[in-house]
């Protein structure tokens, strides 16, 4: 399946912070075919560092999408049955307007003059895209981690447009621990002299700071066990300690590699803005009552968490599920066994595939009346 990223442009988008962005570009991809009844559309929502290229092989560089193991013919999101859409989030750096985009007012990249955005701003932009594609109702909105936040926001903000929601490994509000890790990442970027107050476009980007931020991120995505299995205390291409600060251990080599790789494809300012949007995310709007937040929700839910995910622990999913159950909403929940930590929704997909497929099929039957 060779795919191509497409682009849509919208005149303006009003943001939660009070500012208005105009115009706004959105990068998106679609897979499969929309049926005549327009009842088989699924919106996939990507996590922190994802992009519109969720599935298939990119025409540009031949690379597979970030959830290619879940989306495609015969897969969990079966593109023979469903029409699947995925777009890059607002504030991103992969084709959708973000801090690295050109500010039409100045003719230069926004940098820190880009307004601070929220998860609901991201969702409002996705809604404009979905409208422009003529999708009146979405059979499902689904995403993991920050994608799960967007799925929840969709169900709450547009209850009439969402038949089902599948939030995976996520939370209805960022916890102190999640905010803390994001802040470490931001501080690493801002401590890099090359960051230059966010004004580094056309110059040397803050690669060191961004790489360190990503290293911290990767630690939080894994589990103690997955790191033990993957690296243990193995040394990297040496028999004994180097007694210096070059790479000794495999785990160091891995983190450095992932850090430097990330720098090539991600913008440091996007890191700041998107992580801030996650920190601000609180479906209860500070009231603390998820039940109130979900009161108008009509979607049926499949909530998934993973046993070894300590970044988005299961209790956060249970909180979502219990609030929905208190309202008698149709909600299925499973904590899947996995040793892969938060990464599980991307890599440990066997059981996830089984339940997503079944849930979608039964939802589709309800809609279709078949």
């Amino acid at each position: 399946m060779v795919v191509e990223t497409q682009y849509a442009r919208f005149d303006s988008l009003s943001l939660d912070c009070g500012a208005t962005l105009s115009p706004v570009d959105v990068a998106y991809e679609t897979y499969g075919r929309l049926n005549d009844a327009r009842s088989n559309a699924i919106l996939i929502l990507h996590a922190f560092s994802g992009d519109a290229h969720a599935a298939g092989l990119s025409r540009a560089d031949g690379k597979p999408g970030w959830w290619d193991n879940m989306i495609g013919p015969g897969k969990a999101f079966d593109t023979e049955q469903y029409f699947v859409v995925c777009s890059n989030v607002l504030g991103g750096c992969r084709g959708t307007t973000g801090p690295s985009s050109i500010n039409p007012a100045t003719g230069r990249p926004y940098g820190l003059s880009f307004p601070v955005i929220t998860i609901s701003d991201m969702v409002r932009l996705q809604k404009m895209l979905v409208d422009s594609l003529g999708l009146e109702r979405l059979l499902a909105v689904c995403g993991g981690s920050m994608g799960g936040m967007q799925a929840l926001e969709w169900a709450v903000a547009y209850p009439d447009r969402v038949v089902s929601a599948i939030p995976i490994a996520t939370t209805a509000r960022s916890s102190a621990q999640q905010i803390a890790f994001n802040e470490v990442g931001r501080q690493a970027i801002m401590a890099d002299p090359d960051w230059n107050g966010g004004d580094y476009y056309g110059a040397k980007p803050p690669a060191r700071g961004l790489a360190v931020a990503r290293m911290v991120g990767h630690i939080t995505f894994m589990s103690d066990e997955s790191m033990r299995v993957k690296f243990g205390r193995r040394l990297r291409q040496k028999e004994k300690f180097g007694f210096d600060f070059s790479v000794d251990f495999e785990v160091e080599s891995y983190l450095r590699y992932r850090g430097s790789q990330f720098v090539d494809r991600f913008d440091a300012n996007s890191y700041l803005y998107i992580s801030k949007a996650m920190d601000y995310f609180d479906l209860t709007n500070g009231t603390g009552s998820l039940t109130e937040a979900f009161r108008n929700v009509r979607a049926r839910f499949l909530v998934i968490s993973f046993t070894s995910d300590w970044l988005y622990p299961s209790y956060q999913s249970v909180e979502i599920v219990n609030a929905l159950r208190a309202l008698n909403r149709d909600v299925a929940y499973c904590e899947l066994p996995s040793n892969y930590g938060h990464d599980a929704f991307l890599v440990d997909i066997g059981e996830q595939t089984e339940i997503v497929r079944g849930f979608l099929a039964s939802t589709y039957r309800m809609v279709d009346g078949a």
Binding site: R300, L302, V318, V321, N322, R325, A326, N328, D330, V331, A332, Y333, C334, E335, L336, P337, E351, E354, I355, R357, G358, F359, A361, S362, R365
Partner: protein
Amino acid sequence: MKGSSDSRRRPFVREILGRSDFAIIGEWIEQGARVLDLGCGEGELLEWLAQNKQVEARGIEIDSRKVQRAIARGVSVYHGDIDQGLSDYPDESFDYIILSQTLQETRRPLHVLREMLRVGRRAIVAFPNYGHWSVRLSLLLRGRAPVTRCFPYQWYDSPNIHFLTIRDFQELARREAWTIEREIFLSGHYSGRLLANLLAEVGVFLIRK
């Protein structure tokens, strides 16, 4: 409090009843009712009720593998235990709460039953009868903890922690002022009322507050 985490548990009733427990419960539950099955396993009963009675089906199950199978067949199941699982529901959220073959395994059976009758307008409770003659005889003659068809476990290996007879349940219902709307006593392919506490291997009750 446990759901059915043990793969040996629920199927044994099926052995005795064939699939007739579906039929019994199916007969008691009206079209379109809201039903919650506690310890629903892989959701077979709920799927059957959804298809044949168009009920709004929900389940609670503690075993991850079974939850996955239930969700895969399209049944909305909550992965959790029965005790915690009920407390979040408002009063009278369901028309029927089903507890099949799990009462004797719960840590606080009376609490579970009261919660069922809070969350549901009616409860359907099925349990193996500890008063069956084979149990009595086993203890009397062998002087050992009974191992029978309905209680197939050695004492050290049993999930059952609260043993009750049909008469015990009827007594409890009287004491708690629950109305027993229907009761059915089963043994093999036999069902009848005669000497139920001695002859029945399984009792199935429909109760309300």
